[in-house]
Amino acid sequence: MTAKKRIFRILECILLVILFLMFVFPFYWTLITSVKGLYEAVAYPPTFWPSEFHFENYAEAWRYADFAYFGKNSIFMSTAATAILMISCTMAAYGFARFEFKGKKGLFYLMMADIVIPAQVIFLPIFVMYSRMHILNTYISYFFLFIYSGGVIFFLRNAFKQVPAELIEAARLDGASEFSVMFRVMLPSVKPFMITQIMLSFISKWNGYFWVQTLTTNDHIRTLPLAMNRLSSLSEDMISAWNVTMAGNVMLMAPLLILYIFANRQIKVAFIGNGIK
């Protein structure tokens, strides 16, 4: 019986190591390629540790894909879009959660349509509208897309609904204005939910590819994922310069990977829900 158990234990360890390698190796290989020389990167047999470090790959990727410009765009657009989204969705969620009004149900279903309709169905009509309005390739056209989100409104509405009505009543009895109710009672009680949504929104905007790919015709409002287009087919001396490509890729992933190292628990909970704790 103990022998059988020991075999199971060994098998379990082997499987854990295989799974670990399966998910770590691609990232390890990316990182290691990014500091190899041009010829070493494509050498056979491959080397698992670079013979010499070529950090200039990073400078080259930075320069070639104009990381300064696209990075600035990425930071500005992700932050601003998240801020806009949170303000308008918090307002809407608060309205749907706290008040009874005519047409509430219908309007709420209308918002939920956003969850059902894929971006791939509506991007072309939006492209046509934007080009008629001459706002293609403008920051404002990007922010318009993120003024509402059915998913965020749904999530925050449920959060607001969990705030006990007695709490609001008590605040009103103390003579609190609507402002005080909103900023001193409601928002503090849903703070953790809002932080979750801010995190999710920022990650999805930072990684976002589809909208910036389809609704732009030049580089003006493109972000870092689009900069990878320039790097993915880079070559030097007729050899694909994978080391430079990977250096660029590392720079694209680094902010989120660092965030994930420090806040992996919170991020997992944000995506999957509390059940994972």
Binding site: L16, V128, N207, W242
Partner: protein, 307 residues
């Protein structure tokens, strides 16, 4: 009490009073979201349906009513049939192979030791980085000349593959990337589902001397079914909207081998300026998504009754 409020308002002046009133008005609160939802989701959807009945040249702006002509064209064109069959193969693969692996991995990783935790955490990494990054990593790993996959195959004296650059293996490569990228988050979802099953049910099964095999199939799987059904629907939906990996790795090629419906709409619309055909394909996608949404909502209803 009312005195108190009045005093507070006076203290802050007219602007404060004005906004204070607005905060009580639900129509004001929901207005931005509703207006932009109407403008950038509802209206474009109606526009897409309307345009799918026209032949439309975006450069001259000329429109011609075709009725169901665009749909007839799509179903008669070999390209679109290829796209549909690609999408269905892709969907079935990530649904059945992917879901099976997710369940296995979730059940295996559902322990609270540090080692299990680390593997859970690293397997979730693909979910938080850009799909573009994942695509670029696999373009390098799967590179036919210098990629590490082919090097490994060569070292083992196995036949190498053209991976995403070969018309035979390209769809397979995209499927591998998608399954790899979704495995960790799916496993985590399964773990969350497993941990929501109350402990006393297992204790009762133990008292009844049920075998672990029987426990798994008669207790775990049925109680996990809401999670699994939810995963089935979201995975199916993601198969129909999968765009980034295809655009980055293969551009739909070689020879339409990896052209999926989401990419086809993009290609017809912005690539070939065939707006009418693109919209017709979009309408087909819309019908599929609508059907999935109906299934999803009925499941969600069931899920509420379950507990």
């Amino acid at each position: 009490m009312r005195m108190n409020e009045r005093y507070e308002l006076r203290k802050h002046g007219k602007v404060y009073t004005f906004f204070n009133k607005l905060l009580k008005n639900p129509y004001f609160l929901i207005a931005p979201a509703v207006i932009f939802d109407l403008w950038l989701t509802i209206y474009p959807m109606c526009f897409a349906v309307y345009m799918s009945f026209f032949k439309w040249d975006p450069i001259s702006g000329r429109k011609k009513f075709l009725g169901l002509g665009n749909f007839r064209y799509l179903f008669q064109s070999a390209d679109f049939r290829r796209v549909l069959s690609n999408t269905i193969i892709f969907m079935l693969a990530i649904l059945f192979v992917g879901l099976f692996l997710k369940i296995l991995m979730g059940v295996f990783l559902n322990k609270r030791t540090p080692a299990h935790n680390i593997v859970q955490t690293v397997s979730f990494t693909p979910h938080i980085i850009a799909s573009v990054s994942i695509a670029v990593i696999f373009m390098w790993l799967m590179d036919p000349n210098n990629g590490v996959f082919n090097m490994a195959l060569r070292a083992l004296h196995l036949p190498t593959s053209y991976w995403y650059k070969g018309s035979e293996s390209a769809l397979f490569s995209i499927i591998i990337v998608s399954i790899w990228a979704g495995l960790g988050s799916g496993a985590l979802r399964v773990i969350a589902g497993l941990r929501s099953i109350p402990e006393y049910i297992y204790e009762a099964a133990k008292l009844d001397k049920a075998s672990s095999f029987k426990t798994f199939f008669q207790i775990t799987i049925p109680l996990l079914s809401p999670t699994l059904l939810y995963m089935v629907v979201t995975t199916t939906a993601s198969a129909f909207t999968s765009f980034d990996t295809v655009k980055m790795m293969t551009n739909g090629g070689p020879d339409n081998a990896t052209n999926l419906i989401a990419f086809y709409i993009y290609q017809q619309g912005l690539g070939f300026n065939q707006y009418g055909r693109a919209m017709a394909a979009a309408v087909i996608l819309l019908i599929i998504s609508g059907a999935l949404a109906v299934i999803n909502f009925t499941i969600l209803d069931k899920r509420v009754h379950y507990q």
